[in-house]
């Protein structure tokens, strides 16, 4: 098929990517600036990283955020996968419309509304707010993203494999474990990663639902940013960007390798 790739197409993509990456690049470069002023380049330095690692408050917040993200992403992966199975496999059931509404609405719901409503409920239930309330809030938000990712995988794959297992007398739970689960595992992993990064990223919902002793990293960064640009913040951001970049690239390479191995295995089976 002929695909005319015009200069206009290349320019649009190049400009778009430049727009997306230039600000991040500037942020990263200035985290290595020896000068405190943003306009003055004082040579390369790791000074701000040293100061960052001496900042125990920041480290503590990072640890709180990572724990909340890991817990809520895991809970969301389980609940989201179950929800996806229900939507993709159960057909019509009573309350389906309400259920799918509750799944798709949080995807676009303004965060101030979700945060406010969850907080008011925690207050009404008289719960102590802190680590667990943020975890519950993040699970609620991210499980919907997991559902959408897993669901699109479930409708995409060949259902005859499941049916074959059933026809051969495999009980439902076992056929799920040995046929369905391995097929949707990459989608669940992708959903977990997205949930993890969304939780790590969230400021608004965490601000509403947190309590004393559970200051997450975004809440701390936000309160510092309001006071203006500080090179230490550039250093935190650079570390977060590095972690995310390495994680995403590693995941996609891993995904590619397993796909290649599977293809090779399929080829070998045919021969």
């Amino acid at each position: 098929m002929k695909r005319g790739l015009s200069a206009f197409n290349i320019a649009a993509v190049a400009l778009g990517l430049a727009f997306l990456y230039l600000p991040i690049a500037i942020l990263v470069i200035y985290s290595f600036n020896a000068s405190r002023l943003v306009t003055v380049w004082g040579g390369w330095s790791l000074q701000w990283y040293r100061e960052l690692f001496a900042d125990t408050g920041m480290i503590e917040s990072a640890w709180v955020s990572v724990r909340i993200a890991a817990l809520s992403a895991s809970a969301a992966a389980v609940l989201g996968t179950l929800a996806a199975l229900a939507l993709a496999r159960l057909g019509r059931f009573r309350g389906r419309l309400l259920f799918s509404g509750m799944i798709y609405a949080p995807l676009v719901m303004p965060e101030v509304i979700t945060g406010l409503s969850l907080l008011l409920m925690f207050v009404a239930l008289n719960t102590d707010r802190g680590f667990w309330t943020v975890t519950i809030a993040h699970t609620t938000l991210t499980l919907c993203f997991v559902t959408v990712i897993v669901q699109s995988r479930l409708v995409g794959f060949d259902r005859s494999l499941e049916e074959a297992a059933m026809d051969l007398g495999c009980p439902p739970l076992r056929s799920f474990m040995s046929v369905t689960l391995p097929l949707i595992a990459p989608a669940i992993a992708a959903g977990w990663m997205l949930a993890f990064s969304l939780s790590l990223d969230d400021l608004v919902i965490a601000s509403f639902t947190t309590g004393p002793g559970a200051t997450t990293l975004p809440i701390r960064i936000y309160s510092e940013i309001r006071l203006g640009v500080r090179p230490e913040i550039n250093a935190v951001c650079t570390i977060m960007i590095a972690v995310v970049t390495v994680g995403t690239i590693a995941a996609s390479l891993l995904g590619k390798r397993t796909a290649m191995q599977r293809e090779r295995a399929a080829l070998a089976a045919q021969v």
């Binding site: 695909r3 790739l5 197409n9 290349i10 320019a11 649009a12 993509v13 400009l15 778009g16 990517l17 997306l20 600000p23 991040i24 500037i26 942020l27 943003v38 306009t39 609940l79 179950l82 929800a83 229900a86 939507l87 496999r89 159960l90 057909g91 309400l98 799918s100 509750m102 798709y104 609405a105 949080p106 995807l107 676009v108 719901m109 303004p110 965060e111 101030v112 509304i113 406010l116 409503s117 008011l120 409920m121 699970t139 499980l143 959408v148 699109s152 479930l154 259902r159 499941e162 049916e163 059933m166 439902p172 975004p218 960064i221 936000y222 309001r226 640009v229 951001c237 977060m240 995310v244």
Partner: protein
Amino acid sequence: MTAASEFIKKSRSAGAVLLAPYLWLLVFFLAPFVIVLKISFSQTALAQPPYSSVFDLAAGWRGLIAFLSGLSFDSYHLIASDTIYLLSYLKSLEVAGVSTAILLLIGYPVAYGIARFPRRWQPVLVMLVILPFWTSFLIRVYAWINILQRDGILNGVLVKLGILHAPAAWLASDTAIYIGIVYSYLPFMVLPLYATLEKMDHSLLEAAADLGCTRMRAFWLITAPLSVPGIAAGVLLCFIPIVGEFVIPDLLGGSATPMIGQTLWTEFFSNRDWPVASALAVALLCLLIVPMTFYERLQRRELEGRGNA
């Protein structure tokens, strides 16, 4: 309906599959809204928590009557009468509308360009668009503070080039809000557009070319109409959250007219007026219910249409 799902449906495991996520969402998503609704009809009180409850569940039927007669419309009355709230809503709609239009203008050529690249390049380009989305929202806004502040890079470059004589104030303005929003939401616009453009049947364009149609005309007659689902998804995916946006206007915008998300935040955290904050949330939700219903229908068609076919 296949044999397998029939089997799942009949077995008891069906209930178990559905029960956990259903209950979770009922308790942590739907119930909180009912509470917001309830508190929006409460009266502001100087207490902890700062509202007086108007519904006592234990009192039963008589309680319900007392509840209905005790409903307070004070908060709604306040947000309808004080123009600051109305202006806030209008400002949010304006910002969301204009920035969604800019996003479409920038996002479409990018998505179109990616879809025209050779197949093996496309996953890499898509990944490059997604990657900034994985880095923190807050970081991306902060990156722009670095650039736009008075002694920031933009002023430095413009002054050095002689375009500006003195540093200009970029931050704390609507321009800064638009830059921040367009930057943060660009992946949300590009990805759904790419998804539809990539699926497009190119033989249609070839047929049009064979029949003597110019490229420009072919674009308007074929490509643009076929990409309408992608445009709709991208527009809704950007417009709805932007209306309620808080972080970007708070960090990049000025204090002239706050967006509705900021007003809600101030009412809640600074003024500690929970009933008014709740009433604002209810009003915001009423405003967004129509586009959200459209989005939900789109999602359902996308994810379930294929499966049940």
